[in-house]
């Protein structure tokens, strides 16, 4: 086990810059999830940690040792690929023992290591099969097994579950979590999946366009997104965002389109007249009968998810999404009143995108 320190790491392919200076410290035994839109450089960062890509500038340390110039084989890390990258000409057992055989580990040790890993991942009956004769889920488990047999300093996962169906993904998510709790290994995990990120991570690193946007615990990112990007990226259905202007009078309000004024919990630390963006998560939007205090809105669309209901309403020329656990709150064509509880409102500077308060 080891910590991983990434200091001002940059990456450029020729003149195309991909990463613009990433700083990140991953503590020993921590499970860190990298999220971000496609093409933002998650895989590139992971592959630089693994030693599969050159580091254009900056430093990566594993366990305190600078690894910039070390070959992948000398970094003592394990990686699970999205494609699994199982060796097609080797049996499951050989796939799992390959790294140990390369290290000239004693035969008995290899045998006990792979039988242990196989038992953990319920692969024991499959040990003599070739990858071709396995299902997708089984292949995924072999890829995991190959990573855990040699107790490396750190695990790297690049979207390891994205080729599985929803149910299996949920199951494997649990397995990975359990595995991490058992082994306590430092892990970096790249995913597109919100739920995976939220459930697995000790800390989430949100990336966009080659820059780290925010680092924090899952609930931190959810409750206090540092900027518009993170606010929009985390959470589904996505956060409502309305552009408006800050008014310092009356204890602080935001003036939205069509003269709608939303009161705030208190004065915001910004100047009167600042253009800002008001954000509120759909599950925090209150929907009530008309006549009650709030903003008039017309229901356009009702999406029952079984678990709850997503309402789309139009008000002050914008689309307001609300999520309610109850059913039958409203039907299409209803006029309702929506309100935004002050303690649930997020404010962002529209110009810089960063959080206010």
């Amino acid at each position: 086990m080891a910590s991983i320190d990434i200091t001002d790491v940059r990456k450029a392919y020729g003149s195309t810059k991909i990463l613009h200076g990433v700083d990140l410290t991953i503590k020993d035994g921590e499970f860190v999830v990298l999220v971000g839109p496609s093409g933002c450089g998650k895989s590139t960062l992971l592959r630089m940690i693994a030693g599969l890509e050159d580091i254009s500038s900056g430093e990566i340390r594993i366990g305190g040792r600078i690894v910039n110039d070390l070959d992948p084989k000398d970094r003592d890390i394990a990686m699970v690929f999205q494609s699994y990258a199982l060796y097609p000409h080797m049996t499951v057992a050989d796939n799992m023992s390959y790294s140990l055989r390369l290290r000239k580990t004693a035969k008995e040790k290899i045998a006990s290591a792979i039988s242990g890993a196989a038992a953990k991942l319920s692969l024991t009956p499959l040990m003599e099969r070739r990858p071709k004769a396995l299902s997708g889920g089984q292949r995924q488990r072999v890829a995991m097994g190959r990573a855990i047999v040699r107790s490396p300093k750190a695990f790297l996962f690049d979207e390891p579950l994205s080729n599985l169906d929803a149910r299996l993904r949920e199951h494997m998510r649990g397995e990975i979590k359990k595995l991490h709790q058992d082994l306590g290994a430092t892990s970096i995990y790249v995913t597109h999946d919100q739920i995976e990120a939220m459930t697995l991570a000790d800390r989430i690193v949100a990336m966009n366009a080659g820059l780290v946007q925010q680092v924090g615990s899952p609930l931190d990112l959810y409750d206090r997104p540092a900027n518009l990007f993170v606010a929009g990226f985390m959470g589904s259905p996505a956060m409502n965002m309305f552009e408006g202007t800050y008014r310092a009078a009356n204890g602080g309000t935001v003036e939205l389109a069509q003269g709608v004024v939303v009161p705030l919990a208190g004065p915001a630390p910004t100047a009167d007249g600042t253009k800002l963006t008001l954000g509120i998560r759909p599950e925090h939007v209150l929907v009530g009968k008309t006549g009650l205090e709030g903003i008039q809105a017309l229901i356009d669309l009702v999406e029952p998810t079984g678990f709850g209901t997503i309402l789309h309403a139009s008000a002050f020329g914008a689309d307001v999404k609300a999520f309610s656990l109850e059913r039958g709150v409203a039907v299409r064509g209803d006029t309702v009143s929506v309100s935004f509880p002050v303690e649930r409102i997020h404010l962002f500077d529209t110009a810089t995108g960063s959080r206010i308060g």
Binding site: A50, G51, L52, P72, K73, A85, P88, R146
Partner: protein, 278 residues
């Protein structure tokens, strides 16, 4: 309802295959037929499907009284060496083209394409002039050298397409597992390209086995003659003894066919691994 139509399709399919097999084999059959026809019946029963008397005399003569066994041996040496050397060179070259981006790659590929475009006849005189001071003109090594160079470009493209068909992930996984690049190549990539290498081996072997032009020009003595040159010598030496020539041809076909049958399974399999990509 579908049944009769299906059956009809199946019959048509098998019939088409049979027709093609017949088309492919008939000329070979004719070769064999001529080789077992006694000389006195060669013309009188020339168009009969099988002579009224068959004989193995031609084969016996070729094996016992001609230099054919020597030619055969020379051809074997030349073709097998060429095939192996080309396969090795084109494997490492194809690997470089498939796995690295490097300055000058475009020009290397361009040069290799250029070599596929001109009549090799054009090279005979210059090559002869270059090789003769080195003592490589009347020797099998000279012939091997020339054949290797001629076959390397196409073989390299072929091998590159096989390597392209193998995901890069596998190598990277191996390197993370603790292998050097070379070990990853040897233990992971090479076993997976074996079919492709067999295919390349086959392509090159058949090409070298049947090459006539350069063998004719670079070799003048009997000692280093390959079998195609030897076959032509039947024309002059025995005032075109077709029976013997065809017998020699049939004998020469045997190793080529055996070799081909052995590798043809891999040909398709190997090409499937990467297909010839554009």
């Amino acid at each position: 309802m579908i049944r009769p139509k299906r059956l009809g399709m199946t019959i048509a399919h098998r019939a088409a295959i049979l027709v093609y097999v017949a088309f492919a084999l008939f000329p070979l059959y004719w070769l064999v037929k001529v080789s077992v026809t006694p000389n006195d019946l060669l013309y009188s029963e020339g168009v009969k499907m099988w002579p009224s008397r068959a004989t193995l005399d031609h084969f016996a003569f070729v094996l016992e009284h001609s230099d054919f066994p020597l030619f055969f041996r020379n051809s074997m040496i030349v073709s097998v060496s060429t095939a192996f050397i080309v396969t090795i060179l084109s494997s490492i070259g194809g690997y470089a083209l498939s796995r690295f981006t490097f300055r000058g790659k475009f020009w290397i590929v361009g040069l290799m394409l250029l070599t596929q475009m001109f009549p090799l006849v054009m090279l005979i005189a210059p090559i002869f002039k270059m090789l003769s001071p080195l003592g490589l003109t009347n020797s099998l090594s000279g012939l091997i050298l020339v054949y290797v160079a001629f076959n390397v470009p196409f073989a390299t493209f072929l091998m590159q397409s096989f390597f392209d068909g193998i995901p890069k992930d596998l190598e990277e996984a191996a390197m993370i597992d603790g292998a050097t690049r070379f070990m990853a190549f040897r233990q992971i990539i090479l076993p997976l390209t074996l079919p492709g290498m067999a295919a390349t081996l086959g392509f090159v072997f058949t090409a070298a086995w049947s090459e006539l032009l350069f063998a004719l020009m670079l070799i003048s003595g009997v000692d280093a003659s390959t079998f195609p040159v030897g076959l032509l010598s039947f024309v002059s030496k025995f005032s075109v003894d077709f029976g013997q020539m065809m017998a020699a041809g049939v004998l020469a076909l045997i190793p080529a066919c055996i070799f081909f049958l052995l590798i043809q399974r891999y040909l398709v399999q190997g090409l499937t691994a990467g297909a010839v990509k554009g």
